[in-house]
Amino acid sequence: MAEIVLRNITRRYGELTALEKLDLTVPDGAFVVLLGPTGAGKTTTLRIVSGLEAPDLGEVFIGGQPMNGLPPAQRNVAMVFQQYSLYPHLTVRDNLSFPLKSPLSQTPRHAIAEKVVRVAETLQIAHKLDNKATELSGGEMQRVSIGRALVRNPSVYLMDEPLSSLDAKLRADLRIELKSIQADSGATLLYVTHDQTEAMTMASHIGVLDHGRLVQFGPPREIYADPVSLYAASRLGQPRINILPADLFGPAPSGAKFIGLRPEQICQGKGQDSLVARVERLGDQTRLHLKFRDHDIVTITDAHTALHAGDIVPIQPDAPFFFAADGARIRA
């Protein structure tokens, strides 16, 4: 295993800038999740690390070795794609042994068979080894494609939204599986997603990307509790952080344009009155849609709350975030 260092990476597609002077270090053994909406440069970052694409500027190091100019095969990385991940003309067994049979791998035949079976057992697909790849369900396919990355001993694993095409339950199962595989093997993993649950639950570090720039990097909890900008704050949290005019509840720090309130930063029961517009009961929690001086606020409350639409709830901020007009955080 090895660390990945990206230094000053810039990549443009014509007029469009996918990555702008990106600096990123993925520590050895870390599970780094790149988070951002479509077009933030997440996938481009992975492709540049893998060698499928070359940066216009900047350098890539894996395990201290410069990678620029090396083809993907010689970088010793494994990658799991979002879809089309299995070779449809091969069986599961052949799919899993494909990387081991490459001219670079030079794995002896009996070792290949052994590794394939071991990985198949880890991922609980051993009984499907002789099926054609196209005969599997979506979840099995994605397991096999993760397996194809696991049979090797790459320096790093790269995963491009590997769970996004699966249904919710499978996604939850595989999330736990992936995390435990990574924890057991101590692998370095760079993972791309726009699913904040995946980011929060699996990552040791999250990198928040905005239009090709890395805006914040750190442990998930830190990014949640101490976002550097309005953008970073809106990436995490369910329901989303409420963004309101800074002076809505009273005086704000100078320069502040917005106040950001996560549900736990809204103290209910005292302060100024708001109107309950809708009550959404999710079972384990209840969401309150509030109207406060013509602004919509979403927060959560006790699962068994007696509140109804039309009721009045007093609210007040509790240690809120303030942001400047350009979205930067203003610290009190």
């Binding site: 993907p72 990385v77 089309y84 070779y87 490459s102 001219p103």
Partner: protein
Amino acid sequence: MSYSVSDPSRRTKWIAGIAVTLYAVITILPLLWIIATGFKSPADSIAYPPKIFFEPTLEGYVNLFTTRTRVNPEEMAALPEAQTWYEQIVRDQGQIIAGPSRYGERFLNSVIIGFGSTFLCMILGTAAAYAFSRFRVPLKEDLLFFILSTRMMPPIAVAIPIFLMFRNLGLNDTHLGMILLYTAVNLSLSVWLLKGFIDEIPIEYEEAALIDGYTRFQAFIKVVLPQAATGIASTAIFCLIFAWNEYAFAVLLTSGTAQTAPPFIPTIIGVGGKDWPAVAAGASIFLIPVMVFTILLRKHLLRGITFGAVRK
């Protein structure tokens, strides 16, 4: 691959069934007629009204593969007993076998040139189609249009320049010349068809192979080719059918060593009267390779023709 279509009504099915059956009968009838004629005697073959039931004979096939000379009855009587069944058939016509005909050679030429050009066309076509599909080729659209434009007039329109070119290059009446010519004519079709097939193969498969430790060429062989098999097979059938049946260039550019079967078959008519059964026999045998090739690949062909027509 799931898509929903409403089931056609009974009436639609009936009409479709009748239309398809009619079409099949119309297209297959001449074929059956040729095959039947091959087993008729010369008299039966030109009988009027045409005979549907007749006594089959191999005379046509024997005549196809032999050259014969007529002998008068006294000489015939002086000959020893016929050694083989085909010798007997020839003698029954008042002739003796003078030697083998050139049909075998011509047929072999057709096989060499037809399959040779198809093979070459598939190699070049797949490589070009892959490049057009995957790489940033300068002037890609113009080049593709140029390739297509070579088929906008009938190839025979450029027969004279090609004839002169071939004469100067010493390619007249050679296997190589005919293979190159048919390859050139077929290439535009194969590049366009194959590009469509390769476009449909997601690039992610190759990228996965690149990361799995393969070079681009290895990825092409191991990942792209197997998935393009359907397209390659159906394109190969179209190319083979053209090269196999081509007549005009074969007449113009071949005469001796490299002559293919199509220009040879009509020459059978001239040998000792109108020997229609021999012509029909020649045509029947000529059908076999393409038929076998098509039957072997028919699974691919069907999928190939409907390829892209159904959105998954």
